[in-house]
């Protein structure tokens, strides 16, 4: 309460006390005066007890509102029972401050979390009056937008990282494939050499068998000649035997003749003496002739026996020879099939080598393109590029068509790097070269 009212009250009380004292002193204490005095006292007490809660409440309200104005929203009027009739005004202020404080807390707390990228905490408007609640809803929408934006940015960052990882690995994977293909090609070439060696060996074997067949044929021919010869030998022996018989017969007759001659010589006596000698000699001659013929006959017989053996042997050899010859014929067909197979293998292997070679060219081409893109990306991001655009890196002998295309790629990049081309030009150029590349790789 302002001081002037206090003074006024004080003066009034003093004046009343003074008036009462003087009235008693002068003995003029009348009923009227008592009424006036008691109304003064009544007024005094009413003002003290009736207006005091108002004053108290008002004081508190004013002080709290002043603090709120300074930003201290946490003060409240408590012990409202003392405020009696004014309590509801105090509660109205309290509840208003409750709303305001809750509102600000919600805003502060959810943004604190948003700052740490935690979007899970909504600002809760339930229980707050319309405008407060609406404002918090708007904030929630804003937070969702921030979150979407952040996750979009993060997504981009993530996809970019994924892309980077993918590209890196793609390139090394391609290098590996290229390496493997190279090895496959080496292996296939080795197989080709083996196939070729097989083919020459088959050809050589073919020739050898041819020679053998030739030799075999010669042998069987010889054997049949031998057979004919044996036959005639046999026949010759027979005629020798016949001749020997004749000789033996002649010798027998000669012997008889000699015998007769010696008988005649004996009868002639002395004159026949010389003749007897001759007859003896003739007799001896015939005996010796007979002996020799018998000897020769024995020889011829044993010869014939041997010839018969040879003959049967030759016969066996001939059948054997025919058998071997037909086996050699089989070998001959076998080796020519082998030769054909080896030739075919060689042809297929050559095909495979061709495929491997073109696959390698393709992979080398893909690697080249990947390197270009990776380098471009790094350059565009402003990094110094670590990717090599050097073609020799792949160690592959490229098809000239790919080489020409690579030349076009590298010219395009040069023109872009020297700022002769805009970004859009670069993209257009790359698209054109890609479609060429596509055609080349499919062809």
């Amino acid at each position: 309460m302002p001081i002037k009212y206090k003074l006024m009250f004080g003066l009034l009380v003093i004046a009343t006390m003074f008036a009462t004292a003087s009235a008693i002193y002068r003995d003029v204490f009348t009923v009227e005066l008592a009424v006036i005095l008691s109304s003064f006292f009544a007024l005094f007490f009413i003002s003290r007890f009736y207006f005091k809660p108002f004053k108290l409440a008002l004081d508190q309200l004013i002080s709290i509102l002043k603090k709120a104005k300074k930003g201290e929203l946490h003060h409240r009027i408590t012990h409202t029972i003392q405020l009696r009739e004014v309590a509801s005004s105090a509660w109205a202020v309290n509840e208003f401050l409750d709303f305001v404080e809750t509102y600000f807390k919600e805003v502060k707390l959810c943004f604190q979390r948003v700052n740490q990228s935690d979007f899970s905490r909504e600002a809760r408007g339930t229980g707050l009056p319309g405008d407060f609640a609406n404002s918090l809803d708007a904030i929630n929408n804003a937070i969702i937008a921030i979150k979407d934006n952040q996750s979009y940015t993060e997504q981009n960052a993530v996809t970019a990282q994924l892309h980077d990882i993918n590209i890196q690995h793609l390139r090394s994977d391609l290098h590996n494939s290229e390496h493997e293909l190279n090895q496959i090609q080496h292996v296939v070439i080795a197989v080709d050499e083996i196939a070729k060696a097989n083919c020459t060996q088959a050809q050589q074997s073919h020739l050898a068998i041819n020679d053998m067949t030739q030799a075999m044929r010669q042998t069987t021919d010889n054997i049949s000649t031998l057979r004919v010869k044996t036959q005639s030998l046999n026949e010759a022996s027979a005629s020798v035997e016949r001749a020997l018989k004749l000789i033996t017969d002649i010798a027998d007759q000669t012997n008889l003749l000699a015998l007769n001659a010696s008988v005649e010589a004996a009868r002639a006596g002395e004159s026949g003496r010389g003749f007897a000698v001759v007859a003896d000699e003739v007799k001896n001659l015939s005996t010796r002739t007979k002996d020799t013929a018998a000897e020769v006959g024995n020889i011829v017989a044993s010869l014939r026996k041997q010839v018969a053996e040879i003959s049967s042997c030759t016969e066996e050899n001939q059948t054997l020879g025919f058998k071997v010859a037909s086996q050699l014929d089989d070998f001959l067909t076998l080796f020519s099939t082998l030769e054909q197979n080896a030739e075919q293998t060689s042809a297929r292997v050559a095909e495979a080598v061709g495929y491997a070679g073109s696959a390698m060219s393709r992979i080398a081409h893909v690697i080249y393109k990947q390197n270009i893109y990776a380098a471009l990306e790094e350059i565009i991001k402003g990094q110094t590029t670590t990717v090599s655009l050097d073609e020799d890196e792949t160690n592959i002998q490229l098809d000239s068509r790919y080489e020409a295309l690579h030349e076009e790629f590298s010219q395009l990049i040069d023109r872009y790097l020297t700022k002769q081309l805009s970004d859009a030009d670069l993209i257009k150029g790359l698209e054109r070269l890609e479609s060429n590349s596509n055609r080349l790789m499919q062809g």
Partner: protein, 176 residues
């Protein structure tokens, strides 16, 4: 347990959708302010709650582990969200979805705590009651010193097994 015996016909008091129960405490958890909704629902006179510890309205069905967690969070300067069952002065009870935050002055000193409670989702309460009951059971088996730690450990492990944070868990429940 005693409370159960005292209030045999305990009734549930349901909050309205826009009821906002607000209270403030000093740093020790003694009530320095309670709004009229608080007083109406808990059925107290203002003078009966001022300067009283907040466990004045504590319900025995609430596991101690939950309050252990509450104070842990507040001491770290974090806000706490949770579903709490409270007693009215007359022995009835009411469920709230509570949010308690520490209050700091301009120089960063702790002034006290501020709590806002709203109507909880029914589905959330139905989900939580069995969990709270398990926690209570764990507490009844443990000695009184370690009871809260044990039941809180259970809750933490349960949430870990669902790979969800406590905050996310209660907020999802409230959204049900």
């Amino acid at each position: 347990m005693l409370a159960h015996n005292i209030y045999k016909n305990s009734q549930e008091i349901l909050l309205e959708a826009d009821d906002l129960i607000i209270s403030k405490t000093d740093t020790r958890g003694h009530i320095t302010y309670a709004n009229r909704t608080f007083l109406r629902i808990a059925d107290y006179q203002e003078e009966e709650v001022l300067n009283k510890p907040h466990n004045l309205i504590r319900h025995p069905d609430m596991p101690r582990g939950v309050f252990r967690f509450l104070w842990q969070e507040l001491r770290k300067g974090h806000e706490f969200f949770g579903f709490v069952k409270n007693y009215t002065s007359g022995g009835d009870y009411y469920w709230v979805f509570a949010n308690i935050t520490p209050d700091f002055d301009a120089s960063g000193h702790l002034k006290g705590y501020f709590s806002v409670r709203r109507r909880p989702s029914r589905a959330a309460i139905d989900t939580l009651i069995p969990i709270y009951n398990t926690m209570l059971e764990i507490e009844s088996r443990a000695n009184s010193q370690s009871a809260a730690d044990h039941s809180l450990a259970y809750l933490v492990q349960l949430l870990e097994s669902k790979s969800v944070s406590y905050d996310r868990f209660v907020m999802t429940l409230q959204a049900m």
